[in-house]
């Protein structure tokens, strides 16, 4: 469930964009006003505001925000204001062109979005970057990571609920053999994880656990420094338990010496309209403290205000 809260009656896009224009006027920026408007509008409403702003003031709202805001607040507002698929395209482009083995953003996007959503991301990517997503991912990754990431971002998984149990058994057996032989980068391992439907993968991994005693991720931990193994584990977690995966990203982001604002911003903005409520519940259970508290402790100023608003926790 979403955490985004929208007042029961909202101003028209025209009134909203006038408010925002007021927020930019004069010296300095009224960040509180920006948050009170944008953090309480859904994607369609934000799009309407952007269009109204362009029509009324002849300027792109995003460019104005870029100019008028700074630092982490700027990043969260910009990311939030984008359409969900434009946002994913932006994040994917960043991740692909500045790719490093420990980067999991491509996995997050490829594995937690639905098949149609992922295709919409690819379409938005064409429009924004004049290249295809898989083209950029292929050109900037190498070796085993390319073998994993290109099919991952190109996947269009079947989304029916059917599971073929005998196939699940045979593919679980195959995975176990490959993993026992340390053949983690084997084509068959990658094939199963990048092409099978999510219910089929879940069934296969359950078979794996039943037959061979360990959940597959335990068997994939043989070398803690191996980034490819970490990537495989992330793929599996994103497919099988995306909320737990997201909770862990947030938990690591706030626990670090200093906060990883980029990760925090990314999860909050991409999930606020989707399942941030469920992620909050997982966070509470796992950490015995509400997420808002951790955010209040670890962030400050307008950045904090925006995050709390998106969490549905601002004092309206």
């Amino acid at each position: 469930m979403a955490t985004l809260t929208i007042p029961s009656s909202i101003p028209s896009p025209q009134e909203d964009c006038e408010q925002l224009h007021k927020a930019f006027e004069g010296w300095g920026t009224n960040e509180k006003l920006i948050v009170s408007v944008l953090a309480h509008r859904d994607a369609a409403q934000r799009r309407a505001i952007r269009d109204a702003y362009q029509a009324t003031y002849g300027k792109d709202l995003l460019e104005t925000l870029l100019h008028e805001t700074h630092g982490d607040f700027e990043k969260v507002v910009l990311l939030w204001t984008l359409d969900p698929r434009e946002r994913d395209a932006h994040l994917a482009n960043e991740a692909a062109t500045k790719w490093a083995p420990e980067n999991r953003v491509l996995i997050e996007i490829a594995c937690t979005r639905s098949s149609e959503e992922l295709f919409a991301v690819r379409r938005a990517y064409h429009a924004q970057y004049k290249r295809s997503l898989e083209e950029d991912v292929a050109a900037h990754t190498t070796g085993d990571f390319r073998k994993l990431f290109v099919p991952l971002v190109s996947s269009f998984r079947y989304e029916g609920e059917e599971m073929n149990m005998s196939l699940a058994k045979s593919e679980a057996k195959m995975l176990h053999e490959k993993i026992s032989d340390k053949k983690y980068t084997d084509e068959e391992v990658i094939r199963v994880l990048t092409t099978r439907s999510k219910p089929q993968i879940v069934a296969t991994l359950n078979q794996y656990h039943n037959e061979f005693g360990n959940p597959i991720n335990k068997d994939l931990k043989s070398d803690p420094k191996d980034e490819f193994l970490a990537a495989l584990r992330a793929v599996i977690r994103c497919i099988c338990c995306p909320e737990k995966y997201m909770e862990k990203v947030i938990r690591l982001a706030v626990n670090r010496h200093g906060t990883d604002e980029n990760a925090l911003t990314r999860i909050v903005t991409t999930r606020a309209e989707v399942d941030l409520k469920a992620i909050k519940e997982v966070y509470q259970t796992r950490n015995s403290t509400p997420l808002e508290k951790a955010i209040k402790h670890d962030t400050w100023g307008h950045y904090e205000r925006m995050l709390l608003a998106l969490l549905g926790c601002d004092e309206a």
Partner: protein, 313 residues
């Protein structure tokens, strides 16, 4: 009367060509009413269809099977014509994957349809067969060109005008490297080659192929001749009209195998509403005759009429 026998033999596909001539058959029925001698003579003079057996002539099973195929060409064509293009393409691929026909059909579809059409084919495939297209391709094709095919069916290529000429040049060099430095069986697995062919936009690839020719003097399709899949990929992306003309021409060879002859339906139906004029031009250029004339000469009956209508004036 020899003419009538000749015509009937031809109508029953006894003298080559595709399809059967239904109207000649029906006319002959009424002409030969109450004339069993005529039919007897027909059977005696058609050794492919009938063979002497005691005091009568009996049918050759092989020829009856052949007739079944020839009679159903028109039916198959019309069913394909009625079908939605996305279902058609999805079914062709599914058929090929499960009945081990030439996998090159997959390359044809993946490379000659637009990015959005390929997306819709993937949707149709899912709703018809309850698996994703790339899932089945990856699972069922184990040959060395598997990666190439998975990449081709998963592509959602950029279709705008932007091309990076420097990149095209450097990727032409990478391709050349792949060809020169890999063992013949390994070229189709070369990661850089597969990356370039399966992810770059078609316009970018055409530029790359041009650069290749400028740099190395040979058309890339020639250098990639070491592998049929690679060659077909390049032809379908670079010069689809030429590619389709060749497929059509091969189908008219009397000695061609079943899949090659079936390709005639596939190409004519799938291109009739798209680029048939360009294909006709290309056919004429490549083979020195008009496509309509070749069809008229090498096909019969309703099948011929339908093909000619599809191919247009």
């Amino acid at each position: 009367m020899a003419d009538e026998h000749h015509a009937l033999t031809k109508a029953f596909s006894g003298l080559g060509g595709l399809g059967v001539d239904e109207s000649t058959m029906v006319k002959t029925i009424s002409k030969w009413q109450k004339q069993p001698d005529q039919k007897s003579k027909f059977r005696k003079n058609f050794p492919g269809f009938f063979t002497p057996n005691g005091s009568i002539e009996t049918c050759e099973d092989d020829f009856v099977r052949h007739l079944k195929t020839e009679f159903s060409r028109f039916k198959n064509l019309m069913v394909l014509w009625a079908m939605h293009p996305h279902e058609r393409d999805a079914r062709w691929i599914h058929h090929v994957l499960h009945k081990s026909h030439p996998y090159t059909i997959i390359i044809e579809i993946a490379c000659t349809r637009s990015a959005d059409e390929l997306l819709n084919i993937r949707r149709a495939y899912q709703s018809l067969f309850h698996h994703s297209l790339e899932e089945d391709v990856a699972y069922l094709i184990k040959e060395n060109y598997s990666k190439l095919l998975v990449g081709l069916v998963s592509a959602f290529r950029y279709e705008g005008p932007r091309v990076d000429n420097e990149m095209a040049k450097s990727e032409a060099k990478l391709i050349h490297n792949a060809v020169k430095c890999s063992a013949p069986g390994e070229v189709v697995k070369n990661e850089e080659l597969v990356r370039i062919l399966t992810t770059r936009s078609k316009l970018h690839l055409k530029t790359t192929f041009e650069q290749y020719k400028n740099l190395y003097g040979k058309p890339i399709a020639e250098d990639l001749g070491v592998n049929l899949c690679l060659q077909e990929t390049v032809k379908c992306i670079d010069t689809p009209a030429n590619y389709f003309s060749e497929v059509i021409n091969n189908a008219f060879n009397n000695k061609a195998d079943k899949p090659t002859k079936r390709a005639l339906n596939r190409v004519i139906i799938s291109r009739a509403d798209v680029d048939m004029d360009t294909i006709k031009e290309s056919y004429n250029k490549q083979f020195g005759t008009k496509l309509e004339d070749v069809i008229a000469k090498n096909t019969h009956g309703c099948y011929k009429d339908a093909l000619l209508s599809l191919v247009g004036k």
